[in-house]
Symmetry: C2
Subunit: 89 residues, 2 copies
């Protein structure tokens, strides 16, 4: 089975996000003053083969823990969707 | 009204994504061989005040076009959700 995975890696709430602060400042320079908080992280999309969703989930967890996020400073969320092949078995 | 906005900025499909390629290689070193494609972009969360969803949407579009994405190389998608205050008017 083929899966599409969408992962968001974000700085923890307790941790300062200078990139977000810079963007908020930049928005102010554009005349956008109604934004309160900006936080910036990474968005990762993947396609993968796995025998079922459980295996896909295990792979994603491993990838997030070991490579994609720094668990001390970041948190990750993900969604896994099966890619359906339309019109043939 | 208060809104939470989630924005994904991703490199266009036609454009090489060296960061994604590097991550795919890194996954291989971890023994994860079942991933086909990896693409990496930015995930931005914002909270904002606006009088209605239309105004919020206009602000987000302007922020994406002028600051958050480079429209020549990147594409953006976003979702806007109203923050409900529970238990008081």
């Amino acid at each position: 089975m083929k899966f599409t995975v969408e992962i968001d890696v974000m700085p923890l709430k307790e941790i300062l996000d200078p990139q977000g602060k810079a963007v908020k400042l930049g928005l102010g320079h554009l005349g956008i003053e109604n934004v309160q908080e900006v936080r910036i992280g990474r968005h990762i999309t993947m396609t993968m083969q796995a025998k079922d969703e459980k295996e896909a989930r295990a792979t994603v967890e491993k990838a997030c823990e070991k490579l994609l996020s720094n668990v001390i400073m970041e948190t990750y969320t993900y969604t896994i969707k099966e890619q359906k092949t339309v019109g043939r078995k």
